[in-house]
Symmetry: C2
Subunit: 223 residues, 2 copies
């Protein structure tokens, strides 16, 4: 079927939208990486710096929202373009909140100060790595309309959940035996990472819906 | 300006969309109320029942998404209708996640079992009441395009945050002196309520944007 509005200008608008979303996603990934790094290196000044990135991410959210609305108002995107743009609208909200979560990590890091929680670095790092790669892959799946990659993201959520349960058990034990307040700080960081992975999963599920026009959300289907 | 597509059928579609969103919001509010009630009355069977409501809320999310896409594809909504529909798309995601959070409360309640945390009921109830009324008002503001009401919601977030800090301090103390595991359960419930209030605030900020076409998100403006 020929699309009534396809022209070079319209293609460019969609391309620019994709690019801006990728740039925003890159900033958010930077925020996560720095937040986790600040935890492991007990670097409160690095943690403070993440707030500067938050401002940029917020700007991107507003810009991309406007860009989507403008395309919807002026063009009449059909079928897959329409799903792409409306998902873009939802996705920037997820990305912005992932950025907020990174700031939450940093607030914990500042509260932890120079108290070492080295026993928990390996598990937390592993959670962070998976969460980051899930978010990365979810965005890539969105941009490239790759349902297969999106499905992989959805299955990885279980890995993060398993690590989360492991770290929670260790941390509750640490809170009982050693230090409630610092254990709680580390626990909050683990919780944030688990939620970031959830955001990645949410995005990926919606990408599958976008590509296949089929809603796997809430179906219990994961393969 | 006369809208090119205004006709009775289109009006009806928008009306039905509004109604379905209100019904979904009603279900979500029911989930919160029951989750908090199950905590205070230590009623694990009530907590288990909330899961049944989650299924319905998930169905509403998918239905409303489809309804919005269908309107966008067939009509060419302009200006305020466009903002209304795209915000509808974002908002059902918030509502669905608030429903998930209610389920999270119930999981904690089941873990708490018959352990009384009565000292924390007043503060937690108060948080829950404000969070519920914020979500109620945010949805009402959306349906009635009432920016003034939306602004009131945004200012209430501070009340919830203040209560949250108060309850956290008491709970950390309780964890140190009495019971880490149960204190942590109550703390998770408080955290969920605080996040529900955040969802309400997010919706309200977007409503102000929708009504005024002005983005107050991330501006630091709250009056």
């Amino acid at each position: 079927m020929k699309h009534p509005h396809i022209d070079r200008e319209y293609d460019n608008e969609l391309k620019e939208l994709r690019q801006e979303i990728m740039v925003m996603a890159g900033e958010v990934k930077k925020m996560i990486a720095r937040a986790v790094q600040s935890f492991i290196s007990m670097d409160t000044s690095l943690a403070n710096g993440v707030t500067a990135l938050e401002y940029r991410v917020n700007q991107y959210e507003m810009d991309i929202d406007e860009r989507c609305l403008s395309i919807l108002a002026r063009r009449q995107p059909m079928a897959s373009d329409l799903r792409f743009i409306t998902l873009g609208l939802k996705m920037v909200t997820d990305l912005e909140r992932i950025g907020d979560e990174a700031v939450n990590i940093c607030e914990r890091v500042i509260d932890i100060g120079s108290h070492s929680l080295a026993n928990f670095y390996p598990l937390i790092s592993q959670m962070a790595e998976i969460a980051q790669s899930m978010i990365h892959d979810a965005i890539t799946a969105f941009i490239e309309k790759d349902a297969k990659l999106a499905k992989k993201v959805v299955t990885r959520d279980d890995e993060v959940d398993a690590l989360y349960v492991e770290v929670i058990n260790k941390l509750v034990d640490y809170m009982v035996k050693e230090n409630v307040k610092q254990g709680f700080n580390a626990l909050s960081i683990a919780k944030v990472l688990e939620r970031m992975a959830d955001h990645g999963t949410n995005i990926a599920e919606q990408v599958i819906f976008m590509v296949k026009g089929k809603d796997i959300r809430h179906s219990g289907e994961s393969s």
